[in-house]
Assembly symmetry: C2
Homo-oligomer: 385 residues x 2
């Protein structure tokens, strides 16, 4: 096992009818800015419920945070917080709203151009104003971690930052709040969580026995509840399991003490930045091809994955690996997520653009062995045509 640090102080409030807990969780004298996305938080009543729970506190709103939250979109929120002397932020939404809120929380206290936070990946964040979240879309795990990914459209850049200052103080996870989500967002959430686990699991053996068991348990649970979540929108326990798995998939636990990959994410980010493909869908395009190209380096863990996650016990080692990779792609397809670039009307010319962007962003040595060069990224993308 590798040496590690694990720290996660976010308080999770999980279950039905828990939004009312905001009354205790947010400081009584706080001046609160509620950040949210599109109109769904308004339409489905969550925003009203949040406001009712916050009672007589000074409340302001900042809506319109889009999927792949935009740097330009968020700048006015920083202004608003400073101008209105806001001292507590409340994100109501999914990973994009929470990621955006993290940037606002850090930028308000940051002396200089907030873009520097992203260029330095958060190492320069020394302070942030406190915030909590009310999660409405299980997917990214942002509700229980200290990372955020922000897109700056004018630069076609999608960059991440991490800082222990931007853990949510609390996150309310009420599975009933996900019952109005469209199937496309549920499917994306399942795929996103699945690939988060794979990035921390399918590398090389490092004697992280319990990390492996936990990762396998999360994958098995996603395989069990993912398809159900699409077809049984009113099933509370299915939604509850999906919500908790998505949080645990990226809260630091399963990645502590083991190698991590993240090449699928880095390549996927460029696909979103260039072509606007949903984040989860970019992962579903890249991952199966990446596993094929990297199968030699990942051989031992692919065999373990085949046996423990997919119960594949027939055939020789290479056949079992083939079948595990096939099952992975099929899992995404069964969720209604297409896994080929051509399904998104992209061809070889797109691959050159993606590789150029990877180069521009310094992504020239990806993966757990740092051996995915630009050429190998190209091969991975060609395998996904």
């Amino acid at each position: 096992m590798l040496n590690f640090e694990f720290y996660n102080p976010t308080k999770i409030i999980f279950g039905a009818e828990t939004v009312a807990r905001l009354a205790d969780l947010v400081p009584a004298k706080a001046r609160v800015l509620i950040l949210y996305g599109g109109s769904s938080a308004k339409k489905n009543g969550t925003l009203d419920e949040v406001k009712a729970a916050l009672g007589t506190r000074v409340l302001q709103e900042f809506g319109g945070i889009e999927p792949n939250p935009g740097y330009e979109t968020l700048m006015p929120a920083i202004e608003q917080v400073r101008r209105e002397k806001i001292d507590f932020l409340l994100a109501v939404g999914g990973g994009s709203v929470i990621d955006g809120t993290k940037l606002v929380a850090a930028a308000v206290k940051f002396d200089g151009d907030p873009w520097e936070i992203l260029l330095k990946h958060g190492k320069n964040v020394n302070e942030a104003i406190p915030f909590g979240t009310v999660l409405t879309l299980p997917a990214t795990g942002s509700e229980m971690n200290s990372g955020a990914v922000i897109t700056r459209k004018e630069m076609q850049a999608k960059l991440a930052f991490l800082s222990p200052r931007v853990f949510p103080q609390f996150s309310i996870l009420d599975p009933t709040k996900t019952s109005t989500l469209p199937p496309r967002q549920i499917a994306n959430g399942v795929a996103d969580a699945f690939v988060h686990v794979v990035e921390q699991y399918l590398t090389y053996p490092a004697q992280g026995l319990v990390q492996d068991r936990f990762a396998e348990g999360l994958l098995q649970t996603l395989i069990e509840v993912g398809p159900k979540a699409l077809s049984m929108v009113e099933d509370y326990d299915t939604r509850a399991n999906l919500m908790w798995v998505a949080a645990l998939a990226l809260n630091g636990l399963i990645g502590a003490g083991v190698p991590q990959d993240w090449a699928t994410h880095m390549i996927g980010h460029e696909l979103t930045a260039l072509y606007g493909i949903d984040h989860a869908r970019t992962l579903a395009i890249v991952l199966p091809s990446l596993l094929k190209v990297q199968r030699g380096h990942k051989r031992a863990k692919l065999l373990q994955y085949a046996e423990r996650v997919w119960q594949i016990k027939q055939g020789d080692a290479d056949q079992r690996i083939d079948e595990a990779i096939r099952c992975t792609g099929q899992f995404f397809e069964d969720l209604g997520i297409k896994t080929r670039l051509s399904d998104y009307e992209l061809g070889r010319d797109a691959i050159e653009k993606i590789v150029a962007q990877l180069e521009a962003h310094g992504m020239t040595a990806l993966g757990e062995h740092r051996n995915i060069s630009l050429d190998i990224s190209r091969t991975i993308l060609e395998g996904a045509l």
Copy 2:
């Protein structure tokens, strides 16, 4: 899934050569009291290493905290902290030292008789002085939770308290620090962690799919590394996995959102208080018999346990349950832990004394269904004769 709250702010520093991190983790101006147990921390050099890492800080020591830490033992430490204006505690040892340190941390700030903290199970703890831990014995999980169990010999009482104020600020888990432990303590640690998981897992189905998978993963890992830890004392990864599993077994995660039992612990505590049997050994005595007596109430989970943890797939349902319970007892025996009261020279007269103590401590309705009456506790103990 049941509604739950999960909060665990302890920072874990895990790995070889991490004791030196104390230099950063303890405030530079702190006046530190180092609490420890017997002479082993001195003899094996850990105490010297800790002091070297703490450099020029004001340091005092409080040694002699025994297994099943004694209330009477700890009272002078509270005095010492107040008298010497200590503002940071550092526990160096196993669960007993850490539990004792938690009581000291809370009692120093408590207005009144510290025994009240135990009588109210911690609900009256509003403040505590900060502390960290250097773990030398993986077993109880106290290094990553907010609970403690304290014994008051004059009353033959062993009581627990819980408070979010007594989470360690940090815990250093260096597996190399466990290499001088005697096999008896390693075996006890494995059994203790195993039963911690079982208490939160072997109840009734509650659609906590990921909690079940995590619990099963911890049990499988203990089954894999437990016997190895006894025979291969120098194997770093074995010790590392045991150390991390023991922490995760009782840090709140696997019990969040699912029913919990804890009857084995409550009955076992009386056995320790009356007869001084090692905590883990009392659990190994009680658990197999409890599973037999409660098999009807635990039927669905026993079948799941048989299949997923022990890979028992042959025979009808009752045979599979029998075999799973037999494997559980055999696991303890293989660790060198005897599982019958008679192995400890206790007979029917002891059972009446234990039942009387359960009654005296209000333990008249134990288990996840609160249906283990004194009579059923007696039946469980009779089954363990």
